[in-house]
């Protein structure tokens, strides 16, 4: 029988919900005990404080423009965001320093990601001390169209006696020397290689910000076989492609060290490959002493953007919260008072049915807490005061789904249906509305999460989270509970305090006896469309008025007769 199927399904759904809850709680507990998680979500900068890192530009005397600094801020923000939704704050200080504030104590990986400034340039090699030179493998399919060479950056006249002296005296085994590799872009540079080799390099020919994407992986031969060697693939934008093509055009005609170009990362030569061919498609591949981790790190640094200037960490300090714990507690108390008011209002509006709203809100709140705790452990999500307020409000808005649902059930009751069929028919209409409207919220959440940065991203996560929880709770809790409650005589017979009393809902015109006999017992055809039903249901007043007068203008289907019990289905 249809009725018992609905009840069985409702019971099964509730069991599944319980399973999900136990699983969530279990994962959280396991995380708290073994995985470094906690039972409470982590708090953001404003509530917990954190670490403040001040980065100072390392320019070799040149002035720093505002544009360079704000570009660097944007890039560092992307890198910080890549480590999770922690709502870090990044700003400038005194017009040139960058201040990064991270909640809690950042781990080494996060610190390294921020500090690695990844200022990457390509320079032609003038002189080198190494004989063991790695080679680039140009991507196949080259079109060797020569472009007009720029003023020759491989000209050995760049080497002044002073530069030669610096080159001879530099000690590439000390870390001080590797940090010294700074020079303006249009000047030659003495730099060290990671393997200890020394170089005199020409001016910058291709800047790192012309890289549009970078990937890492194991190199493959043209037949698709793996060579087992880790490489970084660089994809230049249009400007980088043409610049790189002209460099390789010139260098491939030279011999010895001058055939090499150097990839300089933060003043250090990470690779100085020979130029075997002219690369015109803007997709060179760097091979060197990479392993899986180091090739990925380099590719990430290149992809998240090379900073326009290099930075050095000037200071690192713990900072306290700007908002005292009183703010959080006040916020929570305010939320609690608000939710108590919601409870009172629900009871006033929906009587005992209000208890279903309250129970649903409690389930939604519990689910939100568990998921936020989980995200805080796994995805670095942190709650700011604004986030707490947002969650409280979002849970309040969740109540709309229940209200839409209850109002549809009442609409069905007003049409004289029995409770059990009202619940099922009302559900079908309500869920469609709930899906459509929640899809709008979900769309906002997904788009903002993908596109936006900083605290807007955090907001998007909160919005998406509460929307999904809303749908889960209304489908897996509210509706099954209503289905089961509809079986209870208290609700089925429309007790005055149940909130579902047909007499109070104005269904009186059908006569008492009729709503005591649930129409669920009557077999129903499934053909009737919701639309036709809607058109019919909106004319109750007309029908009443029509019944009072002799003038019936509608077709017979519109009159109230026992055929009305022909509902959609259960």
């Amino acid at each position: 029988m249809a009725k018992s199927t609905a009840v069985k399904r409702a019971r099964r759904t509730l069991v599944w919900l319980l399973v999900i809850f136990i699983a969530l709680a279990g994962v959280n507990t396991a995380g708290a005990i073994w995985g470094g998680g906690t039972f409470t979500p982590k708090l953001a900068l404003d509530l917990e404080g954190g670490t403040e890192i001040i980065l100072a530009p390392k320019t070799g005397g040149a002035a720093v423009s505002d544009e360079q600094v704000s570009q660097a801020v944007a890039i560092i923000r992307q890198r910080v965001d890549a480590s999770g939704v922690s709502e870090a704050q990044i700003s400038t200080q005194g017009g040139q320093n960058i201040v990064v504030s991270i909640p809690g104590t950042p781990d080494d990986a996060t610190l390294a990601r921020i500090e690695a400034s990844a200022k990457l340039d390509f320079r032609a090699v003038l002189v080198s001390t190494t004989a063991d030179v790695p080679t680039t493998t140009p991507t196949p399919g080259l079109d060797a169209t020569p472009t007009v060479a720029p003023t020759n950056a491989s000209d050995l006249n760049y080497i002044t006696p002073a530069l030669e002296d610096q080159f001879l005296n530099i000690d590439c085994t000390s870390t001080a020397a590797t940090d010294a590799g700074q020079a303006p872009a249009d000047q030659p540079l003495v730099a060290c290689g990671e393997d200890g080799a020394k170089y005199i390099l020409g001016p910058v020919e291709v800047a790192g910000d012309t890289i549009s994407n970078a990937t890492s992986g194991v190199a493959q031969t043209s037949s698709g076989a793996s060579t087992g060697q880790y490489v970084v693939n660089i994809f230049f934008n249009e400007q980088g492609t043409s610049e790189f093509a002209s460099v390789t055009t010139r260098l491939s005609g030279l011999t010895g060290a001058q055939n090499q170009f150097a990839i300089v990362l933060d003043g250090k030569v990470i690779s100085a490959p020979r130029t075997l061919a002219v690369i015109t498609n803007g997709q060179p591949q760097i091979s060197g002493n990479f392993d899986a981790a180091s090739s990925k790190t380099l590719a990430d640094q290149l992809k998240f953007g090379a900073l326009p200037i290099s930075f050095v960490v000037q200071s690192q300090n713990t900072i306290s919260a700007t908002l005292g714990s009183t703010q959080l507690i006040s916020g929570l108390i305010a939320g609690l008072i608000g939710l108590i008011l919601v409870v009172l209002y629900s009871i006033a509006q929906y009587r005992v049915l209000g208890a279903v709203t309250i129970a649903s809100l409690v389930v939604a709140a519990a689910a939100t807490y568990l998921v936020v705790d989980l995200l805080s452990w796994r995805a670095g999500y942190r709650l700011s005061l604004a986030g707490v307020a947002g969650l409280i409000v979002a849970i309040g808005i969740t109540a709309d789904s229940f209200i839409v649902y209850f109002e549809r059930i009442r609409d069905e009751l007003r049409d004289g249906r029995g409770l059990e069929s009202s619940v099922q028919a009302g559900w079908k209409r309500a869920i469609r509305t709930i899906f459509a409207s929640d899809l709008i919220n979900l769309m906002a959440a997904v788009v903002l999460y993908i596109v936006a940065v900083g605290s807007v991203k955090g907001f998007a996560l909160t919005l998406g989270l509460t929307t999904i929880i809303d749908i889960v709770v209304v489908m897996m809790f509210t509706h099954p509970v209503m289905t089961l409650l509809a079986e209870l005589p208290y609700f089925r017979d429309g007790h005055k305090t149940s909130g579902l009393d047909p007499r109070q809902l104005g269904a009186v015109y059908r006569g008492r006896a009729q709503f005591k006999t649930p129409t669920a017992a009557v077999p129903r055809s499934k053909q009737e469309s919701a639309g036709r039903e809607a058109a019919r249901r909106q004319t109750i007043a007309e029908r009443r008025a029509a019944g009072a007068s002799t003038l019936v203008i509608d077709p017979p289907a519109e009159t109230e007769t026992p055929t009305r019990s022909k509902g959609k289905d259960s």
Partner: protein, 341 residues
């Protein structure tokens, strides 16, 4: 609450009906006035006030203080200018950092002296620095890009789901109305626009469209079969749907506004200015205006956009002429209106 549930019944059956769609010129006039006030008001008051997170500000740092109390710093700044909301945090073991809106030189010196006195150090031990915005142009740029993409997607979704672009247009007009008014309130009251307020703003944006979809889904249900056999005009059909969802609209907005209102009251009157006040003001106004605009702007506008379609016009004319022919008493709408009176 018996009278309220009676109202719900009457609205549903059509026994009682508020003529919302018909009085659209009144609602448009009110909306026009509110928008005018929201645009002109902030300029009269002196423009929007942006928080330190947007505009940057002054930073005072003191190292080696014996008593790193945050409250002392707040009090010292307030003694110079009570309107400034300082962000005070301790730095390391014994450092203190106070951030304020950008102050002019005279005020900076006053604050420096006040802080020196509060923390028992020489004024020269207080370093003053300018700090840039934490909410940089990149966040704004990306957020606006995201919003534009979302709004286009939402409009396309609504046009497809409701099978008419006119609903999408109506919803967007209502959305614009909500955002202008919410922003206007900030400009008029002079509340600082902080990241928390912007987050509140974004929540409103989602809520406004969400609420519109809920009400329009009822309009869709009621109008999907509207056609040659209709006994009411298109406008009246839309009006009935709006009335039938009125109880839901009221209940939803009350339930959503209750927690916000209590956060606003506690945030503004107990704690003073800060995150909670910033976010809850935007939300409270936005939820109210968002619910209001769905009923009084989007729905009448939709009815108006449709009523000049040839098919709609034809049916409306037939309905009206039939009604006129039948003359008063049996006519159902007339009787309904009499009941109302």
């Amino acid at each position: 609450m018996a009278s309220f549930s009676d109202l719900g019944n009457d609205l549903y059956t059509g026994k009682r009906s508020f003529n919302i769609v018909g009085r659209r010129k009144l609602w448009y006039a009110i909306a026009g006035l509110l928008i005018l006030v929201s645009v002109v008001g902030p300029f009269l008051r002196g423009g929007f006030v942006f928080g330190i997170e947007f505009s940057g500000g002054s930073q005072f740092s003191i190292s080696q203080v014996s008593n790193a109390s945050q409250q002392a710093g707040i009090d010292a700044v307030k003694s110079v200018d009570p309107a400034v909301v300082p962000l005070v945090s301790t730095l390391g073991q014994s450092g203190i950092r106070i951030q304020t809106d950008q102050l002019d030189d005279a005020e900076s010196n006053q604050v420096r002296d006040a802080l020196a006195a509060a923390y028992n150090v020489q004024p020269s031990d207080v370093t003053i620095n300018f700090i840039g915005p934490t909410w940089g142009a990149d966040i704004t740029g990306q957020a606006i890009r995201g919003l534009l993409i979302f709004i286009v997607l939402a409009a396309v979704f609504m046009a497809i789901y409701f099978r008419t672009w006119k609903i999408a247009v109506s919803a967007m007009v209502a959305l614009l109305h909500d955002l202008v008014i919410t922003a206007g309130i900030y400009g008029i009251t002079g509340f600082e626009i902080t990241p928390a307020a912007v987050i509140g703003f974004l929540t409103i944006l989602g809520y406004s469209l969400y609420d519109t979809v809920v009400v329009f889904d009822k309009i869709r249900e009621n109008t999907v079969e509207w056609g040659d056999k209709a006994t009411r005009t298109f406008g009246e059909t839309v009006n009935l749907a709006v009335n039938q969802t009125l109880v839901r609209s009221i209940n939803t907005s009350v339930v959503a506004m209750l927690p916000v209102a209590s956060i606003l009251v506690i945030g503004a009157f107990v704690l003073g200015a800060g995150t909670l006040r910033d976010i809850s003001l935007a939300l409270l106004i936005g939820i109210f205006v968002g619910t209001y605009s769905t009923i009084f702007i989007a729905s009448p506008l939709y009815a108006q956009l449709r009523q000049n379609e040839p098919k709609v016009k034809k049916i409306d004319q037939r309905v009206l002429s039939q009604r006129a022919n039948r003359e008063k008493p049996a006519e159902t709408r007339a009787s309904a209106e009499q009941l109302k009176a």
